[in-house]
């Protein structure tokens, strides 16, 4: 198994700088990086093929190279607002290896000529904020942060910032708005953060996992990283496997691993010897797929081709006891609750979807409501202000597409008293 991000992750006291340095060549990449020019570092990350691990999968090096030329100060905002249902990979990194993130942020900041970085953490991560603050203090004490880092003249300050519990703040522009102290609502794009981000200045917004991959690339070279994975999906990916598997948890896999291997080999197979019915490969914001597609390689292109997305890397597994409508209802509730309310289709549509799905689950549904549900989703998809609206319809539309019989069963069973499939 190739371990980059989770290497020695369970080492006791890895959160302390000493242990981190001894166990993992901690902060060794800095020296190598400072021997290069910032531009060379950006080129290196480009060559590694690393793509954003937050959900969109945009090439990281390319993103860095889009920063508005010669505009300073620039900012780095680390997106640690991990709130996508099913996703808990960043939490493990923050919890067990905070220095890896700090090291990654130093490298990114050096490459992008940034002197201020923020770690925007979801409100529920208060424990890890304390951990992170301690790690940051240690890094300052050791001279990895602050003024004139390792005598290079390069300065960097890193701050943690807690969100207040809004999923939307994981959307990069809403994150920046919230970080500025305003209500977390997405901003109009363009301008993109690379041009006008935090406080109107060029800003890099990267996911925790993305930044944590940088030290390996710098230390071992772009080629070493690019050697892992597929032709277009390079490196390793943390996947949070949840649902009806025997060993739910976070697993680091080389991109391109068949999804079925993730379920069977890593996560110990389906619970109770049941059969796989469906899976959502990339967190709640992407369409689900039926079991027949479980051999799809787990990488950006293959999943796209299969009609879904890799997203944040949260594989939600459902066995054959599941009625997918219950999954759709659960996620509809989530999106209704998390819609920021800025745009009309998302604000109103998520609630309407939830109302209809509740009726169907409660066996009060009418046959025409399935069609209505589909049409509401159509009126929302790609018509909302930000991707949250698109995300909200993905699991519902795909559940109707692949499992119409689950809806029919609930609607047809108006008089039946049978329990609905477990959830």
């Amino acid at each position: 198994m190739t371990e980059i991000l989770f290497k020695a992750i369970d080492t006791p006291n890895l959160t302390s700088l000493d242990v981190y340095e001894k166990t993992l060549d901690g902060y060794q990449s800095l020296k190598k990086a400072f021997e290069k020019t910032p531009d060379e570092l950006v080129e290196m990350v480009k060559a590694s093929g690393l793509r954003g691990r937050g959900g969109a999968g945009f090439p990281t090096g390319l993103k860095w190279s889009f920063l508005a030329k010669d505009v300073f100060p620039r900012y780095l905002a680390c997106n640690a607002d991990e709130s996508e249902p099913g996703t808990c990979k960043d939490r493990e990194l923050l919890m067990k290896n905070p220095h890896l993130l700090i090291e990654g942020m130093i490298l990114c900041s050096y490459a992008c000529q940034i002197e201020t970085g923020y770690i925007y953490m979801r409100g529920e991560f208060w424990e890890y904020e304390e951990l992170m603050d301690t790690a940051i203090e240690e890094a300052y004490a050791k001279g990895y942060l602050g003024k004139n880092i390792m005598g290079t003249g390069f300065n960097l300050d890193i701050y943690t910032h807690m969100g207040a519990g809004a999923y939307i703040c994981g959307e990069e522009s809403a994150l920046l708005t919230s970080l500025e102290g305003y209500r977390g609502e997405p901003r109009l794009k363009p301008p993109f953060p690379a041009v006008e981000g935090l406080y109107g200045k060029p800003t890099v917004v990267n996911n925790v996992e993305t930044l944590c991959a940088i030290p390996f690339i710098v230390l071992n070279g772009a080629e070493a990283y690019a050697a892992i994975g597929t032709e277009k999906s390079k490196g390793t990916k943390l996947v949070s496997v949840s649902g009806h598997v025997n060993k739910p948890g976070n697993y680091e896999i080389p991109l391109g691993t068949p999804t079925i291997d993730l379920i069977e080999k890593y996560a110990g197979g389906i619970r109770n010897g049941n059969k796989l019915k469906a899976f959502i490969p990339g967190g709640s914001s992407v369409p689900m797929l039926p079991a027949s597609k479980a051999d799809v390689p787990y990488d950006y292109e293959s999943l796209m081709e299969a009609g879904t997305m890799l997203g944040s890397g949260a594989l939600i597994v459902m066995d054959d006891t599941t009625n997918v409508v219950s999954e759709a209802l659960c996620l509809a509730h989530f999106y209704m609750h998390e819609s920021c309310g800025k745009c009309t289709p998302c604000r109103e549509g998520t609630r309407w979807m939830y109302q209809i799905l509740s009726d169907i689950i409660g066996r009060k549904g009418k046959p025409e409501q399935v069609e209505l549900l589909n049409d509401i989703c159509d009126n929302m998809a790609f018509k909302c202000f930000c991707p949250l609206g698109d995300a909200a319809v993905a699991p519902v539309v795909s559940s109707i597409q692949y499992f119409p019989e689950d809806y029919e069963e609930l609607i047809a069973s108006l008089k039946s008293e049978q329990p609905v499939g477990a959830h």
Binding site: L188, M336, K342, T344, E348, R351, W352, N379, K383
Partner: protein, 818 residues
């Protein structure tokens, strides 16, 4: 702004029509130019793109997804489609979402008939909804402030109001709270939303969520008689629509004119018209306290005036007008006194000022196209509110820099690159210093001790003036002391002579038609059009050989001459000297000595109580004519209400007729035409030319008085500064006013060092005395002025703060006791 990029255009196609618009235009606005309506809710041209309502989705060739036309900037060769099946489905879908939880209580909604939600649904919407759940119930009529009621069920969360509060008002007073379908427009901690410009959110709300509490349920919009009129409060002369029903004022709404108000009005404009139906109006003419016919009242005035002129000569008679009158009324009055009485005892103000400017007279639009604004002794927020919004826009969005020179702190300081605070009363010395520095000389060694301002600061001011391309100087002549206005004009002349800088000015006296009153020659030393008495040839050519050429008394001199017995008769028009003149109550005694006092006014005043003859003036809402705003823009104020009382000019005409005037003007337009003929600068001011947006009058020749060097006399006590307050509890905003919640207590603002010396604390109740009078006030240790000064906002007529000021003195001192 760069003119080159402004003229750059982009050509695109919308629904097959070729459109050429300026670069940077959004597609929604581009479509309007070829009569294609793309429906919107959240988009407002003054607020810019936002894109939250999703109503304006369109298809654009080469774009994979539909996009919002309000956020999409036009591109060369762009092909936009607004009428495809896909777009129509999207529009129906968005409208269905928008109406999903809307109560559809149109039959009882104030917005009905003028509601974008109704209109868009009518044109683009689905005929029905597929929603069969109960609508989400939210708070109905909830006060957002004493004058604004929010109906949360009707709100479609377009955020126009919150963005207005953020972008235009710069307050962020109104915000969205909660999220998702539970989000709501609110304020921090549910405090009242009671800013100076809050009412504009009612006009921009695209549904009936934000309603005018005063107007709620009083009329259907289609039953209103709407007249395009002007605000008659401050000197910006904002355009507004007066909606009346059965000859009663029901509501005031905005009537956007970018050249004046930029589409907004202040709350005093919106809710400050209760006086049109006030019980305190002078309803009928009175003679010795008895109601008489208007003809009898006029005859009484004529008989008495004739008697006095015969016995004591024409100069025993005087006229004190005010900037509250229309050009036509003021012109008629000065003509009456010059032509039929034969005196120049004519004035409209208590401060020193002269007509004309030694530099270009800038319009309000110039504020935002200037590189530098220099604000002198002016407090737009309280005096000229709509200028406050324009300045914020200039500074925050147009890249204009602002310098503030004032003797008191104002809310504009926050937006200034540099704020210079001079000692109260030292404006003349400061401006003389600035003039010297602009001329490359030293500001003088005693500048700092005299003004409290370091000469390095003046150097910085001068440097900025010299290096800015376009400079707009805004000054309030009414807040300058002594003859500092002359020094200021010398400064302007010096700045105007700078090679690299284009300098213009806006004389920003706060009263409605202060500019018009100057232009109309309601002055003791100038004929209309700024013609000084020394120019006798010009005067005789226009006004005949008998036109009086002897300098008349100023308003303050007239009061003193009444006291000394030299002035026997006085006509006071739209002015209340007993409360508003320096000396305050002392004026009462002087006026009591007159043989004849005529007061012609809208409301009962302390001065009217002293008058032998009281004439009713109609005032805003009822009157019709022109006013000239601070930018020199002449606009037409039409009437929205009718009255049986004759127009003000008509009363003047009745008096003039009895005094021997042969031809009377047949209507107010005849006087407007006469002004165009007789008043320099007004040649182009024709009714037809000003009807829509108004028109700037041409330059009035500048004459400047000599500067007198005024030493600030040392003495005991603090130097008094009386500050204007927008919502002052006076005759116009009386106790019944909708804006009564905005009235403030009497306060005195002190510098901490003085408060220390006096041993007073924040909130202490003190007595402020001076000029033989005493005013009660609460202490505010706000450092609003430099040490040695005391700022008293003029919060009400009852407060009587003007009594503390010594008439005719550059400065007055007050003592403060616990």
């Amino acid at each position: 702004m760069d003119t080159a990029t402004q003229t750059d255009t982009v050509t695109l196609t919308i629904d097959g029509k070729t459109v050429t618009v300026p670069k940077g235009t959004v597609v929604v606005d581009a479509a309007k130019t070829v009569d294609i309506e793309i429906p919107v809710f959240c988009y407002h041209e003054k607020l810019g793109p936002f894109g939250c309502c999703r109503m304006c989705l369109v298809e654009v060739e080469k774009m994979p997804k539909m996009t919002t036309a309000c956020t999409l900037t036009v591109g060369e060769g762009m092909v936009v489609k607004t009428n495809t099946e896909k777009v129509e489905k999207a529009q129906k879908g968005v409208l269905e979402f928008t109406l999903l939880n809307h109560p559809l209580d149109c039959p009882v909604c104030d917005k009905g008939g003028e509601c974008p939600l109704q209109d868009n649904t009518f044109k683009f919407g689905p005929p029905d909804t597929r929603m069969d759940y109960n609508r989400f119930n939210r708070d109905k009529a909830t006060p957002l402030s004493p004058v604004i009621t929010i109906d949360r069920e009707r709100c479609i969360a377009c955020q126009r109001c919150t963005r207005y509060s953020d972008i235009i008002e710069k307050d962020q007073a109104l915000v969205m709270r909660n999220r998702g379908f539970q989000n709501r427009v609110s304020t921090f901690n549910d405090q009242p939303y009671d800013t100076r410009f809050s009412g504009n959110v009612i006009d921009i709300c695209p549904v009936g969520a934000l309603t005018n509490t005063d107007f709620r349920f009083t009329a259907r919009s289609w039953d209103l008689t709407n007249s395009s009129t002007l605000c008659g409060h401050c000197a910006c002369n904002c355009n507004m629509t007066l909606g009346a029903r059965l000859n009663e004022m029901k509501r005031i709404t905005t009537r956007p004119n970018d050249l004046v108000d930029d589409g907004w009005i202040c709350d005093k404009a919106r809710w400050g018209y209760d006086f049109t139906k006030s019980k305190n109006r002078i309803a009928q003419p009175r003679k010795q306290g008895q109601v008489v016919a208007i003809q009898d009242a006029c005859s009484e005035v004529v008989v008495s005036l004739k008697k006095i002129v015969e016995a004591h000569g024409p100069n025993s008679v005087g006229f004190i007008g005010s900037g509250y009158g229309l050009n036509e009324d003021l012109y008629s009055y000065q003509k009456l006194f010059r032509e039929h009485i034969g005196t120049n005892n004519i004035d409209h103000k208590t401060y020193v000022d002269t007509p004309g400017l030694p530099v270009t007279h800038f319009d309000l639009l110039d504020v935002e196209t200037s590189d530098l604004v220099v604000l002198i002794a002016s407090d737009p927020t309280e005096e000229l509110p709509i200028l406050d919004l324009r300045l914020k826009k200039a500074v925050e969005r147009q890249g204009t820099e602002m310098i503030v020179l004032n003797d008191q702190q104002t809310l504009m300081d926050k937006y200034a690159a540099l704020s210079v605070r001079y000692n109260i009363g030292s404006d003349g010395a400061l401006l003389a210093g600035l003039n010297a520095v602009l001329q490359g000389q030293s500001a003088g060694s005693d500048l700092e001790s005299a003004t409290g301002v370091a000469s390095s600061q003046l150097q910085l001011v001068a440097e900025k003036i010299k290096t800015a391309g376009k400079v707009c100087v805004i000054y309030n002549p009414a807040a300058l002391t002594g003859s500092a206005i002359h020094t200021l004009k010398q400064c302007l002349a010096t700045a105007g002579g700078l090679a690299e800088t284009a300098v213009g000015a806006i004389p920003a006296a706060p009263v409605t038609n202060a500019m018009g009153a100057m232009d109309m020659g309601v002055l003791p030393d100038c004929y209309p059009g700024g013609v000084p008495l020394s120019n006798s040839d010009a005067i005789k050519a226009k006004w005949g050989d008998t036109a009086p050429l002897e300098k008349g008394w100023s308003a303050l001199e007239m009061i003193e001459k009444a006291r000394s017995g030299e002035l026997k008769a006085l006509v006071v028009y739209r002015s209340n000297p007993v409360v508003d003149f320096p000396g305050g109550r002392n004026v009462e005694e002087a006026l009591g000595k007159l043989d004849l006092l005529v007061v012609h006014d809208i409301m009962e005043t302390e001065t009217a109580k002293l008058a032998q003859v009281v004439l009713p003036s109609n005032g805003p809402g009822f009157d019709e004519g022109t006013t000239t705003n601070i930018g020199g823009r002449v606009q037409l104020r039409t009437k929205g209400l009718t009255t049986d009382n004759p127009a003000d000019w008509k009363i003047v005409s009745m008096i003039a007729k009895e005094l021997g005037q042969e031809t009377a003007p047949k209507d107010v337009h005849a006087i407007t035409a006469e002004i165009a003929e007789k008043v320099g600068g007004y040649q182009e001011i024709k009714r037809s030319a000003i009807r829509k947006e108004g028109k700037n009058r041409a330059v009035v020749p500048s004459s400047n008085g000599a500067t007198a060097s005024e030493e600030i006399a040392t003495g005991d006590g603090l130097i008094l500064r009386i500050a204007d307050v927008l919502f002052s509890h006076d005759k116009i905003l009386d106790a019944e006013s909708n804006l009564a919640h905005q009235f403030q207590p009497s306060t005195v603002h002190l510098h901490a060092s003085d408060a220390n010396g006096l041993g007073v604390q924040e909130g202490d109740e003190v007595s402020v005395s001076g000029n033989g009078h005493e005013v009660k006030a609460e202490v505010r240790i706000s450092n609003r002025c430099n040490p040695g000064g005391a700022v008293l906002p003029k919060v009400s007529d009852e407060q009587d703060v003007m009594s503390l000021a010594e008439a005719g003195k550059a400065i007055s001192r007050v003592t403060i006791k616990k």
